[in-house]
Symmetry: C2
Amino acid sequence: MSAPLHHARPAAGPGRALPDTQQGMRRRNLARVMHTVSAEGPLSRAAVASRIGLTRAAVSTLVDELIRSGLLEELGPERPRRVGRPGSALAVSGHGPAGIGAEVGVDHLAVCAMDLRGEVRARAVRQTANRDRAPEPVIAELRELIDQVVTEADGAGLWPAGLAVAVPGLVARDARTVVRAPNLGWQDTDLAALLPARWPLTVGNEANFGALAELWLGKEAPRDFLHVSAEIGIGAAVVVDGRLLYGNRGFAGELGHVPVHPDGPACPCGGRGCLEQYAGEEAVLRAAGLEPGEDRVGLLAARAEQGDRAVRDALRDAGTALGIALTGAVNLLDPQSVVLGGALAGLAPWLLPSLRSELARRTAGPACPVTVSSLGPEGPLLGAAHSVVRGVLDDPAAVSELA
Amino acid sequence: MSAPLHHARPAAGPGRALPDTQQGMRRRNLARVMHTVSAEGPLSRAAVASRIGLTRAAVSTLVDELIRSGLLEELGPERPRRVGRPGSALAVSGHGPAGIGAEVGVDHLAVCAMDLRGEVRARAVRQTANRDRAPEPVIAELRELIDQVVTEADGAGLWPAGLAVAVPGLVARDARTVVRAPNLGWQDTDLAALLPARWPLTVGNEANFGALAELWLGKEAPRDFLHVSAEIGIGAAVVVDGRLLYGNRGFAGELGHVPVHPDGPACPCGGRGCLEQYAGEEAVLRAAGLEPGEDRVGLLAARAEQGDRAVRDALRDAGTALGIALTGAVNLLDPQSVVLGGALAGLAPWLLPSLRSELARRTAGPACPVTVSSLGPEGPLLGAAHSVVRGVLDDPAAVSELA
């Protein structure tokens, strides 16, 4: 992790990457205060001190600095019921730095601004057909939405602490280059050259941001899980001990090209019988005898709901193929659970039975639990925005340098 | 990682798990000095100071403490060529704390004592048939070897800082319970109850210790790799950014039960067509028309060397199956390389061609490199002993509490 902080992949915990000096210790302790208030606030200074194991005097110095920087605020006596001693409770500020999240989808663009409390305060979405469209016009359109959201956020007293962009493709570890996004037709595209330079930028894979959203915003999300999602392809992301696994080139989580039937149909990746040949959106539509069009997942879900036998069979078989691929993944990674997110979440009722039974019959002992994400298709966008917010919580001292 | 330090899984770097207080900072800096001298010594105090970014005065205080504890020693002027200023150079001590490594194999028991410099100073090996033998007599025999090695080490001025035991099975995250070791016939066995209580104990999977040995002692070992090894079963271990991935229950790396041909032969694990059904030692012997006996790998290697067609074909097919399973693993993990270790290293000349070509034809872009470990079958034993040594380097201050 040699990248500067706001470009960096999220660290294992508050400020872990900071240098081990007096100054680094102060910054880590500022991060501890922010994380504690963020997770458990409103809290009094004394409660913060007892939770992080520092003296109350030390905590007060840190808190004063965070209030001066506009990252924490003192709640007035107008909320007497929420804490024991009115006026003394601290909360994360709803003003000041915000995370700007953006998503480039095959069929849409979306941007949002999230405050430090994790609330989305401005949002813009546009339906656009981005398949095989050059990066320049797509990003130009995305910039319009970013400008719109930043202006709206400014009106609410928020300023961008960074921009994070989710894309449906492989992103290099520099967190700016899209190495391959087959459904957009992009290859080796440096998005940093096309996006505003005035904020720290992180470009990331949508499945990765979806998994981070699950980790940070999901209900009772485990710390070790495999997050499986789909738009056109099948993506996965591996979270180990609360950390996203990126892989050497940044390409980890390519579940879609795990061989399921090694002698099966040829896949554009060069392999044979990859999972996408059985459980990818296009494969499922083909197996169900449907034409690809707009809102493909919605179409499949609606038909399955109506009891369409061909669609239900196609989804059952896709679930079986997912179960085979996940057996291998679970054997390798031993996660606490598998979470189905993104488009797969909407199809879960018809995928899950065959998926679970395949996993169970191939597993010695209790099979790994498979659950469905509560975040739905917005996961990657929220994860992107929240990754910027996390960057501020992880090193609040860096924000005053940015402001 | 809530376990006490010497029982704990190795941390990401020097002393990362230590508390963030003045005292914790001192302990982390002691660890930095030890790691720096260990990796690059002999070094002068000034050289250590410049490498870890502390003042020379601060480093001198830390060094004096480490010399007093017997963990560092000052080299006399008898080595004038190795450093600029004779007499001022520091080296890790070849006396004092040692790591005791032990290995329970299906066909043998082994124990060694390793000093802080990483040199094996005492060793004992015994051939024994442990298959389906109860844990009590096996561990009783292992204790005899441990006593023998500890006595020999004592004669060389070394005392045990901890004991680490490698076993061919799944080990729970408590690092003491063998959950399942099919080839020994052990299940839910608490080895801590059978082993000496007077030293910190870590029980671990042999494939994991083999991978750690590769990481710490291998030639130009990468920081992100998949280590594949075999005794009877096929084990793997995943190293990410210099850290071993344990998984939720401690079971990560079960490559042997990744489905290769999902409709293939039934496997004792409950699955079908698992990798072990194609590339496990017994499967290969069966395919080659040979009887399982002692030194099975040696037999296969000798026959293949002689040009035995059936053996070569069996190994080629095993390589193909490994290539299919590794395609999935590489897609999920995106490692820098795959390293074949343990028994597989000796069979590499006949496994590698088909393994590499299978991986290449299933991979878009350049295939993940596959290399062969230089450590051979002793990897797990050395990794176990070195894990104790790492524990001392990671928190040298803890040693004085043990001594």
